[in-house]
Amino acid sequence: MPKDGIGASTVRREDVRFLTGKGRYTADINLRHQTYAVFCRSDIAHGRINSIDTAAAMAMPGVLAIMTGADFAAMGGNPAGWHIPSRDGSAMREPKRPVLAHGKVRHVGDAYAIVVAETLEQARDAAAAVNADITELEAIVDMAAAVANPGHRVHDEIDGNLAFDWGWIEDNRAAVDAAFAAAPHVTTLELTNNRLAPNAMETRASIGDYDPGTGDYKLYTTSQNPHLSRLLIAAFVMGIPENKLTVVAPDVGGGFGSKIYHYGEEAAVLAASKALERPVKWVADRSEAFLSDAHGRDHVTKIQLALDKQGNFLALRTETLANVGAYLSNFSTATPTFLHGTLMAGPYRTPLVYVNVKAVFTNTAPVDAYRGAGRPEATYSIERVIDKAAHELGLDPLAIRRQNFIQPDQYPYTTPVGLVYDTGNYNATLDKMIELADIAGFEKRAAASKAKGKLRGIGYSTWIEACGIAPSNLVGVLGARVGLYDAATVRVNATGNISVMTGAHSHGQGHETVFPQIVADMLGVPASSVDIVHGDTSKIPFGMGSYGSRSLAVCGTAITKAVDKIIAKGKKIAAHMLEAAEGDIEFKDGKFSVAGTDKAKAFGEIAFSAYVPHNYPLETLEPGLEETAFYDPANFTYPAGAYACEVEVDPDTGKVTVESFTCADDFGNVINPLIVQGQVHGGVAQGIGQALLENVAYDAQGQLLSGSYMDYTMPRADDLPFYTVDHSCNTPCTHNPLGVKGCGEAGAIGSPPAVINAVVNALQRGGHKAVTHIEMPATPARVWAAMNA
């Protein structure tokens, strides 16, 4: 293994430019004759647009164009990527999502006009002068009320405000209900998975650049998947032929899911650029981000677990209201269903599971995938109800988990909710966590906390998730309207250095460091001679981008497939150069050699020959050394792990501090341990944020109350402990050649229930026996109220 190949903790090469201010983000790009766009956004949650008077604004200095929803009415809607039918077989109700609001505004922040001017200040002033006459309608904010008041509609054509009422698996429902009816013990828990704002460090930004000379459109935008955005804009929304549209996602400062989706602003700046024949630039401010980025989570769930008296799980069922907001964002229908319902078996042998999810329209910002996407909601429900059941039955929370684990000899394991886990060893990660977290020493630490007047608690979560999204065959059956393969092109240049064009997009993941490690390892070249090219549809093959912890498992595998083809081609060239049979050529340590001889050619010689082919047999050997591979995974990957969280609660104030957090994860083979560690740290920080601090709040009128960092609490360094992270217990994935599983979302999936279990444990140990649940975020006010109820 080269020192910078697979398994090396190489530092991230991209950090040099990020940390020295040399990154190039969309906002850093300025084009000749550029103009500036500002969007007019609704300040009410629900209203009928009577008219929009733009005359006064158009007359203001520097104003070049104002377009409203009416100007885009003939364009297509921005579609949902998955069709989810209801239990009764009826089709998903899928209202058109226009580029700009037309007819009605449906949430605070819903954009109804774009104003373009010579300067940003002129555009802002003119946007303030656009006079929209909007009749306010009663806002539909609460999900239960939205479902209960059928006449009261977010979309006039959708009675009952439901996109779908989904049962998984509907055929199992009767058997699950029968198991509950006969069960010796049933634990019931009602909980809310709080709505989160994604808060990427870089806000969304887009520049539309139409070239009147060629008729080509170019969009610079903050996207996690430029090809997917291009496909949505070209084929669904604007009808631009794909060959006339280039989408470039340059450096992108975080996404967490919120930049997967195509947003109306992207189509609007393209259309405005065409109308003006000048580039049109828009950069969201932080308020716009809070109002208009797709939010995450927002489930209200009733979960029930049926057990025997010994704590063996017999059946599990849930009823969930999932908020989709005002419109169906691209992944919004998959997130609460096939990224959530299919995970409800967890790492356990629960034989019977039934999940019901109703997706509810409300007058709030659209809700879609956010780091973890459906799997945190599933994990939180399962891991919380297990703790409650253990408490009710007087069982140890670790023992009850262990006794229900799927065992190492049961793989491949078919769950009752449609997945086949290929591999795992949950006892191993649990044992490792028990060791690293020093569970045995907890009582001593609790006594020390007590001496300080604090209540100490410990909470666990043994999580699993399905990622490496996704096997196209399976998701096609489940309702996906796209395939979820990825692609890579490996171009060996004449002098032997290598450019790798990837469908995956790096917006914090570290692809520019990790992918070269794989190529270096396979070809025996230094990683420094390999560069990654991503984000520009005119340069990269058609891949589906980065989300769902897929980059390494799916695109990384495509890279290995392309490198395999490079090696195969290299063998042909070597056979020609060495005058040997192709079958006799071996490739090892960067050399092509004739088996059993000392005749060999270095990789660089082969590359040079490929581009200077003066004596090639042209009928059988093409010049060049460049290969593309598309890889479609055969299954999801199933990383899993065991987390322990210790908290201290201040009984006087209810303030919770996280004292320690221990993660023992199984990510299969690890390419770069340093980056994996960083991914887990980031995910756990977001999970602790969800559990203790973050919450998107709307008032009854649909006004966003948490619209700035005054009221939306992001985790800060002093809210977080030093983590203990381990990934030594690994069971390699069986269906990709690298043996890797996804790690990007794990921390955000596994951590929230560990934190809340710890808080509840602290209170129960502190004598507050009646406390069985605390909603997230467990703010001091909530914890204090629970202690003083």
Binding site: D43, V108, A128, Q703, L704, L705, M710, D711
Partner: protein, 171 residues
């Protein structure tokens, strides 16, 4: 948000009632009010300039008086639009009752804000609203009873000790 409080004003209910219905008094009492025109029957139009946290805006709005029980109670409702800053709307139920030495004015306000000012969050908005209400009723009290509030109404003897509203209406 909800705000309710009461003030004891050293003036008779009739004087307080007349002051509430007088646009000039309201203009003088609403903090940041640039203009106030109209009548009880038709409602008032007002322009108010205010700074809420970091957001400065000129609100233009209409104020309606309703549920009038002469001399005893009424409802003041209104809506102001501040352009890009957002909007505020709400209503106040105001009741007057005679007490020894004057009038007790009780108000119960329900108000909503939207747009940019709503996103400032409840700490700023609630604090701002409470400050506005306090300032309004302090000014109103001063206007009705004059600066020498420690004096008993019955003992007021000279013109200059009366509040400007009293001087104006010749009470």
């Amino acid at each position: 948000m909800d705000l309710s409080d009461s003030r004891d004003i050293k003036a008779s209910p009739a004087h307080v009632w007349a002051a509430i219905l007088d646009p000039d008094v309201l203009k003088a009492c609403v903090p940041g009010c640039e203009s106030m025109t109209g009548s009880v029957a038709d409602g008032f139009e007002a322009v108010v300039v205010q700074k809420v946290g970091p957001v400065s805006a000129r609100f233009t709005g209409v104020v309606q008086l309703s549920d009038i029980v002469e001399g005893q109670s009424l409802r003041i409702s209104g809506e102001g639009k501040g352009g890009p800053a957002g909007f505020a709307k709400g209503g106040a139920n105001v009741t007057l009752e005679p007490i020894e030495g004057g009038t007790r004015l009780t108000y119960d306000v329900k108000a909503n804000v939207g747009g940019k000012i709503a996103q400032l969050g409840s700490r700023i908005i609630d604090g701002f609203a409470k400050k506005m209400a306090d300032e309004f009723f302090t000014r109103f009290q001063d206007a009705v009873e004059g600066p020498d509030s420690e004096e008993e109404i019955a003992e007021e003897t000279t013109e200059k000790k009366k509040g400007w509203f009293k001087r104006m209406i010749g009470a």
